[in-house]
Symmetry: C2
Subunit: 132 residues, 2 copies
DNA sequence: TTGATCACTAACAATTTTGTTAGTTATTGT
DNA sequence: ACAATAACTAACAAAATTGTTAGTGATCAA
């Protein structure tokens, strides 16, 4: 009886529809990997050399540590980045490194950025040249 | 007093952070435009000629009418598509058409699709060739 | 006249995502 | 002895997204 209830939750319409879309096309799983709050900005920041937890916090001053850790873990789960402990550091340092998968994503994000800029409603705060 | 409460809701941390990211880089607004459930699949389907409400329903059998209508309206709000009434049809037919902005998005979605396929964990259900 | 199609909308409920708070471990600097 | 830094985790609350239900109006076909 309890299992029935649990299965309900694991098989909510929401989850079923997500799965359906994943099976329709990899496009949908690709988008779900990058669409969390902060996620693409984290990937882009790491690609620019901000590969430490505290460097990312500096880049994204409004993010809380718990949220940053969670987003990083999800990116790791999707094999977009890996964690590497930096030896001989106290406290132990951790460097985040994009995988090949993550690195291949960056130029696509740059294109999305350009697309966004090309059709931005109003004032672009950043410069009109390509990189974010 | 009531306004104070409303302002609270309009300025939730969530909304503030979203706005912050929009100002950091257009990448973030671009991703927010395409990251709703069904959205990129709808854009892709329209680009393939499924430009009517009922054709999209056929393509996406699990979507409810209310949800489809909502996603279409959001895509319209972001100027990715426009609605066109088809004259001399009963009941009145509506065609969805990608704007230039929407059409420019399609090749980027195809690249995301390819990226997803290239690094898919396991079995690809669709063929390995490019279009979804 | 009953049912079907087309293209929706509004109100509400379920689910998921995001943010907050309060911890942890280990070390260095004052 | 005390605060600071680095890099987290768990539990919970707030907010946003997604899904459900029940409607709308106009027209045609049986």
């Amino acid at each position: 009886m309890i299992n029935v209830l649990i299965m309900r939750k694991e098989q909510s319409s929401n989850a079923i529809n997500e799965q359906f879309l994943f099976e329709v096309c990899e496009l949908n799983s690709a988008i779900s990997m990058i669409s969390g709050r902060w996620k693409s900005q984290i990937v882009y920041s790491i690609s620019q050399g901000n590969n430490r937890f505290h460097l990312l916090q500096k880049e994204l001053p409004n993010i809380s540590e718990a949220v940053l850790a969670r987003q990083l873990k999800e990116l790791e789960t999707h094999a977009i980045l890996v964690k590497q402990e930096i030896p001989n550091t106290t406290p132990i340092g951790v460097a985040y490194k994009l995988t090949n998968k993550g690195a291949d994503l960056v130029p696509i994000l740059e294109q999305l950025c350009d697309w966004g800029k090309a059709y931005a409603a109003g004032k672009a705060i950043t410069s009109p040249t390509s990189p974010c």
